[in-house]
């Protein structure tokens, strides 16, 4: 055995002093006793797995990859990465679940669903259909499905937006992600309106696939890697050939492309990583630089509570979204305690995780209900679904709030 090759020291594995702080902040360990917690699942278990892969514990599937263990670790151990790499290296190598295949293949399912969106949306809201999905596919019947859009963002863009974009003096490239494309094209349109108002045209990547986060969490690693290679190829073209920055509206897509590609899929992205940015950060920096400015047409009072998604917490970038919201006249921002909402992408859709998912989110839901705000804002689409399903408040992307109040005339 090549010790060096099998060691995970790039994850700072040997820096762990077993202090257990990670387990204190693990949202799953707090509610699900079947999960041994990040210390045991991560560095402790890794010592055993390095000796013998049989020590792989199937309970690692309960890790929702929120990375809050890594944020809490005083020793910089990449605990979440150790757990995910263990699943990739030692876990089941073939996906045999139709359910996981369907949940993970957001592109495929989105492409099939959007042409028939009214039908699909009605169907998945029906009790008998949800009952069937629960029984046949183990997708929990209590989970409210996100609505599909009738027609994709990309088809709208090609038809109604592409031509006008070239006229702008400055350009930026947009990784829209599955949510904008299949569920909420309006968010993509909002981004284009904001960028256009600031004098930026918005280009799409030559070829874009789902970032792959759901494929990774559902064990479809080869497909995740193929899609990641496609995305990195397109991003390199945009950055290197066209000199464009690439912005995204989803915190998880951003995190996956910047950090999970090199850490979990072993795809180097050093050459472009700094050019892939969350849209709110990009806008914050543009405004701060003084190169552009904006005008607001509306200063109606609006109380907004910002929820920090787990991957946003890991990136440390919630600050930019919160500051951007604070720049909007009339908007009063409350920052919710940074804690997991429980859905973690496809995790909360699964029957076996539903109870855990809702128990994790319970303190957040309580805080939202007690906050007295008009609306919750967050940069993650699955957090939005979870919050809208589990609380009485609507949940919007910060850019949607911004776009609704910005003076958009040139």
């Amino acid at each position: 055995m090549n010790i060096q090759q099998n060691s995970v020291s790039e994850n700072n594995f040997e820096q762990c002093i077993k202090c257990t702080i990670c387990t204190v902040y693990c949202p799953v360990a707090a509610v699900n006793p079947n999960y041994p917690g990040p210390k045991q699942a991560g560095p402790d278990g890794e010592r055993l797995r390095l000796k013998q892969p049989d020590f792989f514990d199937s309970a690692l599937k309960y890790c929702l990859n929120c990375k809050r263990c890594e944020v809490a670790c005083p020793s910089n151990v990449r605990i979440g990465d150790i757990i995910q790499m263990a699943r990739i290296k030692y876990g089941p190598q073939k996906n045999t679940s139709l359910r996981n295949y369907v949940l993970a293949n957001t592109d495929l399912v989105g492409s099939l669903a959007t042409p028939f969106a009214p039908l699909v949306n009605t169907a998945v809201a029906l009790k008998p259909v949800r009952f069937m999905m629960d029984k046949v596919m183990a997708i929990d019947h209590r989970r409210v499905f996100p609505k599909y859009s009738h027609g994709t963002f990309t088809s709208w863009y090609k038809r109604h937006a592409a031509a006008a974009q070239a006229a702008f003096p400055k350009q930026v490239s947009f990784f829209h992600g599955c949510y904008v494309n299949y569920n909420n094209p309006q968010l993509g349109k909002d981004l284009i309106r904001i960028m256009n108002a600031l004098g930026y045209g918005v280009q799409l990547l030559e070829k874009e696939k789902c970032c792959g986060v759901a494929l990774i969490s559902n064990g479809l690693y080869k497909q995740a890697k193929r899609q990641a290679e496609t995305n990195l190829g397109s991003i390199r073209k945009a950055v290197t050939n066209d000199g464009l920055d690439v912005i995204t509206t989803s915190s998880t897509c951003t995190f996956t492309i910047r950090d999970e590609y090199p850490h979990l899929l072993n795809l180097q992205n050093d050459d472009v990583r700094d050019r892939i940015e969350l849209a709110t950060r990009y806008l914050y920096r543009l405004i701060q630089s003084g190169e552009v400015s904006w005008k607001f047409r509306d200063a109606q009072p609006l109380r907004v509570a910002y929820h920090t998604p787990c991957h946003m917490e890991k990136m440390g970038w919630a600050y930019y979204s919160i500051e951007l919201l604070r720049m909007i006249p009339g908007v009063e921002v409350t920052v919710l305690d940074s804690q997991c909402c429980g859905i973690a992408g496809t995790y909360g859709f699964k029957k076996e995780n539903y109870a855990t998912s809702q128990a994790i989110g319970a303190p957040l839901f309580r805080q939202i209900e007690e906050s007295g705000v008009d609306v919750v804002a967050t940069d993650c689409e699955t957090c939005k679904w979870q919050i809208e399903m589990s609380t009485s408040k609507p949940c919007l992307h910060p850019l949607s709030i911004l776009a609704s109040r910005l003076e958009l005339t040139k």
Binding site: C19, T20, I21, T23, V24, Y25, A29, A30, P33, N34, P36, G37, K39, Q40, D44, E70, V71, A72, C73, P74, S75, N76, D274, R281, R285, E313, K314, M315, G316, W317, Y319, V335, P363
Partner: protein, 421 residues
């Protein structure tokens, strides 16, 4: 990003400095590499328990005058005994305002009890813990030490061994509940935080109260490991009010539940004052201009700088990598500050673990205003607070938390003074 003050390090010193500055209206950011050493807290804060010559200190403030002469490089000596007293009086008030309820007096040490049952002199202790006014004066003669069955980080036999030296009769009891059985599925995870979550539930807390009630007839008091109340603050109060017998907490091995609560309370207070808390990020480099630090850069924020008028280095000592030992020197990694250490590595430590180890007093050199020295001269707007400071033995002299609290308040005052002038 632009702030009035950027504090690097989110432990006791960084948080308290940030809170003081934010209270004065400053816009502050704290950048912290993970959670802090408060997670290992004993539940007590030491100010000064011993002088460097080993003499026990009964009155810490009086002790500081002697310390000034014995150890002129000690942070207390730099701050000055008089100022130290004023900050030592302010510190418990700041903790109280934050929601950390403490007892203690800077003019008279009291005694806390360690997880091994030993008595130690200390300054402030979080409410609920067992303390004694003087050494050898435990507040009971017959006690029951109640443990959670299978809990790995609490040792009733060791505690009893020490208590019996004071003629205290000790009995043992354990509690087990279905929910505790549940977490024992992973025996290695029978840790304080997981257990505390079990007792956050009303039913389990009631079962614990019933267990204690049954012990009341034969004992004067019941001792519990400090595993009560992690996500709720009233758990210990509820427990106390539902039994008739006095209850005392003893610290466990880490993680420390009261320490976690203290850290979270400090974070909440800082944020509620408008402070920005960046957790899980590491400051990599700093840019200086004309003897002043202009900006620092972190892992998460890449080329987006943290700019500020003032910077506070509160990155702690070796464990938190505020100091890094190389084969022949001690390095401060962010600013390349001047450090105090013995030139010969052979003098860094002795082979006896519990000896006074020289390396523990290694740290960042500062001037009397606690401004960081670099190349022999003070950087105008860069201060150091907390465990990274040079010249003190936090464990041997029982002054770690005191140095953190007092230096944090002193540095905050230096910054506010400079701002005014």
């Amino acid at each position: 990003m632009r702030f009035d003050t950027v504090i690097i390090g989110g432990g006791l010193a960084g948080m308290v400095c940030g809170i003081r500055l934010a209270e004065a209206g400053q816009r502050c950011a704290i950048v912290s590499q993970g959670q802090s050493a408060l997670h290992f807290s004993s539940g007590s804060f030491d100010l000064l328990s011993k002088l460097p010559d080993g003499e026990a200190v009964a009155d810490p403030i009086a002790g500081m005058a002697a310390l000034e002469k014995m150890a002129p490089e000690h942070p207390y000596a730099l701050i000055g005994a008089e100022a130290c007293e004023s900050y030592a009086r302010q510190a418990p008030l700041i903790l109280q305002e934050t929601g950390i309820s403490v007892v203690g007096d800077c003019r008279k040490n009291h005694y806390r009890v360690t997880p091994m049952g030993k008595e130690k002199a200390t300054w402030l202790t979080i409410d609920g813990y067992l303390t004694a006014e003087d050494s050898g004066q435990l507040p009971f003669k017959k006690v029951c030490i109640l443990n959670v069955e299978g809990f790995l980080d609490f040792y009733p036999e060791f505690i009893a061994e020490e208590f019996r030296k004071q003629e205290v009769v000790c009995h043992f009891a354990t509690i087990n509940l279905p929910d505790l059985e549940h977490i024992r599925k992973n025996p290695s995870e029978m840790r304080s935080a997981n257990i505390a979550r079990v007792f956050d539930h009303e039913d389990n807390l009631a079962a614990l109260a019933a267990k204690i009630h049954a012990l009341a007839a034969d004992h004067e008091a019941v001792i519990l490991p400090a595993v009560i109340g992690i996500n709720r603050s009233d758990a210990f109060e509820v427990l106390k009010s539902s039994v008739t017998i006095p209850l005392y907490l003893l610290p466990t091995l880490p993680p420390s539940i009261p320490g976690i609560k203290a850290q979270q309370a400090l974070q909440r207070r800082f944020r509620s004052l408008g402070g920005e808390y960046f957790l899980g990020d590491t400051v990599l480099t700093a840019e200086s201009e004309e003897g002043r630090v202009k900006e620092v850069f972190t892992v998460n924020h890449g080329d987006e700088p943290f700019r500020a008028d003032h910077f506070v280095l509160a990155t702690g000592s070796f464990f938190s990598k505020g100091l890094i030992a190389t084969p022949d020197s001690i390095r401060e990694p962010v600013f390349g500050a001047d450090t105090l250490f013995n030139p010969s590595r052979a003098d860094w430590y002795t082979l006896h673990f519990f000896d006074r180890q020289n390396y523990q007093a290694f740290g960042v050199k500062t001037d009397r205003r606690l401004r960081v020295l670099r190349g022999g001269s003070a950087v105008d707007n860069l201060y150091c607070a907390g465990a990274g400071l040079a010249g003190f033995h936090p464990i041997q002299d029982g002054c770690g938390a005191g140095v953190s609290l007092l230096s944090a308040l002193y540095v905050a005052d230096q910054i506010l003074k400079e701002k005014r002038s």
